[in-house]
Amino acid sequence: MKEFSYTITDSVGIHARPAGVLVKLIKPFASKCTITKGDKTEELGKLMKVMGMGIKCGDTVVIKVEGSDEAAAAETIENFFKENL
């Protein structure tokens, strides 16, 4: 399993657009990807659930990726967070 944590610096947080891009981004991967904020964990592939977490600027989230292509998936997700969030 791959895991990393990230603190959001985008002023609007994980709003609709980045959440949508994330969903698309992980689609090709077989691994299971989850996002955790505090005691809430949701699958990254679920747009409305991820939006519903209300992740804001300054929040720290933990991303967990588990599966056959976890290394590549985790790297893709992490790069996206660093560049856009």
């Binding site: 709003h15 949508g20 969903v23 698309k24 592939g45 519903g52 600027c57 300054g58």
Partner: protein
């Protein structure tokens, strides 16, 4: 004539006939016999909805740009969301509901989830879920969506406008809109701002208005239905005036802030958030004169890390592409509180533990911010500004900490950039010591709000004190003038970043004082530029009292301050400035570097 009031999104006037967008009420059958058939109906309707959304997306890309069209991309993804679909098929399969009932109920449940979030942006997303669900329901029930075309321009009145409805409107005919629902973050509001048309939300509307003549008065947040002749005439003149005014201000983009006689001044903008940068660029400000960094702290639940802050400062520095960005270090305390600072309650918060005082006592907090700023400086033209200064030693201490951070970062091999160092002049003490302070820094920025409050001993929050308050109080204006003179004596440029900077009745006074920069709200930049460009100081060298002369006769000259600077000139008789050449050179020419 009927008058209704609402919340105005954009100051402006729109005059035209109303088109009322009625939502068609369609009976929705609840129960179905054949679950498999209902599922198929849903899948077909969903596929058609996605096809329609793709069409809207393509249309919006052309009309409003990719950024704006993205919402329809999100809509398509929402329609494809696992949980959303699961909920619909559950209602059909296990509860024997019709496809339209299942979609409507699911849409309402999800919308409710967004509507109850404590985040204005997410709250506004409830409308998106309702929009997509409504689209599918309409397909299922055969109700059509969207208004019919019209030949003459119109004002739209509706309960609420869904994004898909706004994109279907013929923008060339749209004069303005009035809705009962909607928030300032809603698509309706965003569209109004983007299109620059007046809009009211939260208005009690009536279907009977349909087809009637109306005026939206965005200045007074109201709509007049069947207005009287007189009012129509007055507001039409105002509308024409607005259009001319706007066109004129737009023409000022790219023009220098220079008076008729050639005196130049920099006009910068104040921001409190990364998202304000767009407004700064749109209004053609020459730089950011005040970046209130405290928003980063106020929006956070714990101390923001160096990397978080670095990311934010870097974004702003890069967006400004080489234009100056003046970051004011943490100004928390007084009326700006963040729980995790655990600041004790104070009797006199305005005179208490705040701003630089916190930074110098809790150096770890200060160092985190300074390190972030130094690193961001590698990506643009960054200046750092310390608030609430009352003594030279504070500036020396702050600079020593900055130097310490610089050395650490170099040792760590981190990329850093040069920063210009300045201070806020917002206490009478700082003005009295301006000569000594100017020796330490490269610029002064006068915070007129606090300077006025501390000079007049008047709390601006207390309406009882209004009769005593004079924003043009001669004492404050003289302190400002003293600051400019002291700054220029020591090669220090001087600007204003408080509210007075945007007060155009003082623009001439400030120019005559030799002010180098005025930093105002982004929306005030072009208006201020216009005022500057119409001024003729012609007599710039003639001694003319820059502060109301009357007051100077009533008061005895202030006692000479106890500094080694004997230049305490009798008030109100400004000496011919020997430092004029400095003023002319403006700060791009100040090649000094006191901080290294």
């Amino acid at each position: 004539m009927i008058t209704a009031t609402g919340k105005s999104i954009l100051k402006g006037i729109a005059i035209g006939k109303i088109r009322f967008l009625a939502k068609k009420q369609v009976e929705i059958k609840e129960n179905a016999a054949d679950a498999a058939a209902e599922l198929k109906r849903f899948e077909d309707a969903k596929a058609l909805a996605i096809e329609q959304l793709q069409g809207l997306y393509d249309k919006a890309v052309v009309e409003a740009g990719e950024e704006h069209a993205a919402i329809f991309d999100i809509h398509m993804m929402m329609l494809d969301d696992d949980d959303y679909n699961e909920s619909i098929s559950d209602l059909i399969n296990s509860e024997g509901k019709t496809a339209e009932y299942a979609v409507k109920t699911t849409g309402e449940n999800f919308a409710e989830m967004f509507a109850t979030m404590d985040d204005e942006y997410m709250k506004a997303r409830a409308a998106d879920v309702r929009d997509i669900s409504g689209r599918v329901v309409n397909i299922l029930t055969g109700a059509d969506t969207g208004p019919a075309d019209s030949d003459e321009p119109f004002i739209i009145v509706a309960e609420d406008l869904a994004p898909s409805e706004t994109v279907q409107l013929d923008k060339s005919k749209l004069l303005g809109f009035v809705t009962r629902l909607g928030s300032t973050n809603s698509h309706t509001a965003i569209l109004a701002r983007n299109m620059n048309i007046p809009a009211l939300i939260g208005t009690e509307i009536s279907e009977e208005w349909d087809g009637k003549m109306a005026i939206i008065d965005g200045y007074n947040s109201c709509i007049y239905i069947e207005p009287e002749e007189e009012l129509l005439k007055t507001l039409d003149e105002k509308r024409v005036h607005d259009l001319e005014q706007r066109a004129m201000l737009q023409q000022l983009k790219g023009q220098p802030n220079v008076t008729l006689d050639g005196t130049e001044i920099n006009v910068y903008a104040n921001i409190g958030n990364v998202s304000d940068v767009g407004m700064v660029l749109e209004n053609d400000a020459g730089g950011i004169g005040l970046f209130r960094s405290e928003f980063i702290y106020l929006n956070s639940k714990t101390f923001p890390t160096e990397d978080e802050q670095f990311g934010i400062y870097k974004k702003v520095a890069e967006a400004m592409a080489g234009k100056k960005v003046i970051i004011r270090t943490l100004d928390i305390g007084a009326d700006k509180q963040a729980d995790y600072f655990n600041l004790p309650k104070e009797e006199n918060p305005a005179l208490g533990y705040r701003a630089i005082r916190i930074c110098l006592m809790q150096r770890d907090i200060f160092k985190t911010q300074i390190r972030a700023i130094l690193r961001a400086a590698a990506f643009g033209k960054v200046s750092i500004m310390f608030p609430m200064i009352i003594s030279v030693s504070e500036v020396k201490d702050a600079k020593a900490i900055l130097e310490e951070c610089r050395q650490e970062l170099i040792a760590e091999g981190k990329e850093i950039g040069d920063v210009e160092i300045g201070i806020m002049i917002e206490t009478p003490a700082a003005v009295m010591l301006a000569d000594e302070l100017a020796e330490e820094v490269e610029f002064f920025s006068i915070g007129t709000n606090d300077l006025t409050q501390y000079t007049l001993a008047i709390d601006r929050q207390n309406p009882k004190l209004d009769p005593f308050y004079d924003s043009h109080h001669p004492a404050v204006l003289r302190l400002i003038e003293k600051t400019v003179q002291a700054g220029h004596r020591h090669n220090c440029w001087v600007g204003i970043c408080g509210e007075l900077g945007a007060d155009t009745t003082l623009t001439e006074t400030f120019l005559r004082m030799g002010m180098d920069e005025l930093s105002v709200n982004p929306g005030s930049v072009l208006g201020l530029r216009k005022v500057i460009r119409e001024l003729d100081l012609g007599t710039a060298k003639e001694p003319e009292p820059p502060v109301p002369a009357k007051a100077t006769e009533e008061e005895p000259p202030a006692p000479a301050e106890a500094t080694e600077e004997p230049a305490a000139v009798p008030e109100g008789t400004p000496e011919p400035e020997p430092e004029k050449p400095i003023k002319k050179s403006r700060f791009s020419l100040f090649g000094k570097n006191k901080n290294k």
